[in-house]
């Protein structure tokens, strides 16, 4: 009797194995990308676009679904994200799940309205929206972006965004922008989100970094360009940084995430050419802030290692130490100039900083109240900033000297 009663009392335990919330893989539609846009008719409504992955494509099960597309794209107009999730089930027969969601795309127009923060902050209430989701701002409407983004070699959309995010870290042309970072940087600091577009507005420039998305000259290939960053202040987009500026803001941070980047510099000996190098962090960026007065003093030192990759002017930098010194100085000057321009831009245009220097500034204060009273963002716009690059040229590649065609003057 005792045993039977014990067994009976164990039955509720089975419920903990989530019968109430059981998930059948088969019955779910997994949204991998969500697009958010303003509605053209009503300012308080948003257009929510779901890109729903077709798990059969790209798997061994393709035979059963040979003619199905890799994903389905639908757009709904609703007051918020969660009601769109419910509404979507009037069209999609399987239950929409955000479990595999990894990218949220926001149209630039929506990002520039105060509505954006309300939408994204209220979406966090749903436990399926995760803090590690990537935020991406598209120049055009997010729905157009998702429609146009048909990568040639990545059939499955989630893989595309997954690999894209991996590359982002390497190049530093775009920031690492997840929702966690967005929510961290709401009190006056700048938050950088990836800027991308499928609309081309090509311009050929000599410096390969000085583009924002859409301007990179490109013939054929995937339609999406990701370059530069959208700048958010207090939950609202206020401007754009180019790829070069974005990379520089990442370099100026104390905890850099990008490991190495290819960057070209003007050849100091022959100004017609540019030298391509790989730059790497040589230790951590050091930031010193003196916030004791109304005009804070900021001293930044960025230690950098440079590997020369190509040298189209064919100047001898390897054995000629004098040239080497000139090159080093010129790289240093160029980087410092870029940093200086960027800082000026943030001070004048955005009146806040994306370099996470507020972390260091906060350290100077004893209590939160004192820090808030000091109003770092405002003080920053008048700050004296001094950026120094500590450049070391580490290697010149595999050749001792560039192969120069000798002009013998015979022909």
């Amino acid at each position: 009797m005792k045993r039977i009663s014990l067994l009976v009392s164990l039955i509720p335990l089975l419920l903990l194995s989530s019968c109430g919330d059981k998930l059948e893989l088969e019955q779910h539609a997994y949204a991998v990308v969500i697009g958010l846009d303003t509605n053209d008719e009503d300012d308080n409504l948003i257009d929510v676009t779901f890109q729903i992955a077709n798990p059969q494509v790209g798997s061994t099960d393709t035979g059963a679904a040979a003619n199905e597309p890799p994903s389905d794209i639908v757009t709904f107009t609703t007051p918020d994200l969660l009601s769109a999730k419910e509404l979507a089930n009037s069209v999609i027969t399987r239950k929409i799940s955000f479990d595999h969601l990894n990218t949220i795309i926001v149209g630039e127009k929506l990002a520039k309205t105060p509505l954006f923060h309300h939408i994204i902050a209220s979406a966090m209430i749903d436990p399926e929206i995760r803090l590690e989701n990537t935020l991406l701002v598209s120049k055009e409407k997010a729905s157009d972006f998702i429609d146009a983004n048909i990568p040639k070699l990545e059939t499955r959309p989630h893989k595309y965004y997954f690999y894209m995010r991996q590359r982002w870290r390497d190049t530093g042309f775009v920031p690492l922008s997840d929702l966690n970072r967005y929510f961290q940087r709401l009190s006056g600091d700048l938050y950088l989100a990836i800027y991308a577009t499928t609309e081309k507005n090509e311009e050929v420039r000599k410096n390969e970094d000085h583009y924002v998305a859409g301007q990179i000259p490109q013939k054929s290939g995937d339609p999406v360009q990701m370059m530069g960053s959208a700048v958010f202040k207090n939950g609202k987009m206020i401007g754009i940084l180019t790829g070069e500026e974005t990379r520089m803001s990442l370099l100026l941070r104390q905890k850099p995430l990008s490991h190495y980047a290819i960057q070209s510099f003007t050849d100091p000996i022959n100004n017609d050419y540019r030298i391509s190098t790989q730059i790497m962090m040589n230790g951590k960026t050091r930031v010193k802030i003196d916030a004791s007065s109304d005009i804070p003093d900021i001293k930044v030192t960025v230690p950098i290692k440079v590997q020369v990759f190509s040298n189209p002017s064919l100047t001898n930098y390897t054995t000629n130490l004098k040239h080497q010194e000139t090159l080093k100085q010129s790289i240093k000057n160029e980087l410092e100039q870029i940093a200086k321009d960027l800082i000026q831009k943030t001070q004048e245009e955005f009146k806040a900083e994306p370099f996470l220097w507020y972390l260091e500034a906060r350290r100077q204060f004893w209590t939160n109240h004192e820090y808030e009273k000091y109003n770092w963002s405002e003080k920053y716009s008048n700050a004296n900033v001094d950026v120094k690059f500590d450049v070391k040229i580490e290697s010149f590649g595999a050749q001792m000297k560039p192969e120069v065609i000798r002009d013998t003057g015979k022909d």
């Binding site: 014990l6 009392s9 164990l10 509720p12 335990l13 419920l15 903990l16 989530s18 019968c19 109430g20 919330d21 479990d99 436990p127 995760r130 803090l131 590690e132 997954f162 995010r165 991996q166 966690n180 929510f183 961290q184 009190s187 104390q254 905890k255 996470l356 972390l359 260091e360 906060r362 350290r363 204060f365 004893w366 209590t367 939160n368 109240h369 004192e370 820090y371």
Partner: protein
Amino acid sequence: MIKIIDDKLGTREFTSVVLIAIGMKVTDSTPSLLYEKGANAAWIIPFFYLITIGIPFLVLLSLLKKHEKGLVDLLFHLTGKVGGTLICFILSLLIFFSATTSSRSYIAIANTLFYPKTPVIILTFALLITSFLVAKRGLTAIGSVSWFIIPTLEFLLLILLVSVWKDAHLLSIFPIAGPGLSTLIKESLNHSSIIGEIIILAAFFPFVRSYKNYQVASLLGLGITLFKMSLFLAIYVMVFDYPSTVNMAYPHQELTRIAEFGAGFTHVEGGFFIFWIIASIFRLAIYLYLTAFLLGGALRMDKFEKLLLPLVGLVALSGLLPENEFIMGSYRDLLNKIGSWTFISLPFLLWFLSKLKGGKKNNETDKSAC
């Protein structure tokens, strides 16, 4: 190795009991309680606990050593029959409410984050009935199973720490004093009951093999708990930054959702959740057992384990009373205040009485043997 087999807890078992009963708190909604006023400097509060709870606890330890009695017997011995009954009753009430609020909060966590569609009533009963079954096995069983699971739990916390390390900004914990030192000290006094329950755990003294075992285990448990609490309160701020942490209801679960092992192995919160729910069942079992033991002490009942079933029903019902977890907020604050001051003052009161009695010969008949 042959061990003496008796029904008592050794050092490591009792350490595990302390770690589960109090050390678990940093993984539930307790941090949000501390962040509310403590802001980014909440991680300093555990250091203040070293004084606000550490000193009363040391006083209590000296009393336990002197009288070689558990808390319940000590109360009856020093404050007399009426006083003992009253204080035991108050303590059991405090632990009962603590069990209620934490069971409700655990259910809220399971409900919001993992089982949104399962009715709260079913979750409540599933959780509490399991805890009841565990508690029914007695403290010896709870103790040995606690020792069995605690290494896994602590190891998982360590793994969690490593896996979120890349997202942590060390500098986020500044400004160092947060809302100001006076606020921090006031907060740590008012929320001392979070750690102060270690004083009530002294009721389990008769279950521990010897005074030495008890002393080592409880001090070790307290030390690890405080360290862990401080560390995790700091980690939450480092990863989510202030003021995001203040808005988070369950920072630990949020942290497990961020954790990932390489780019391909994400969404690992389920793994953490399983062990967490097992630990919470054991924690509730310890609390139930403690309530029953104290209530049994107050009522001078020898078979206090009979009280477990009505108690678990009461916990379930009172846990279901409020519509949601947040309605309990103000009550919880009040309870915390009452609890904190009770826990802090009780050892001093007992010490004073013990000193008073120490002069004259103790000829009170001691009937308390439960």
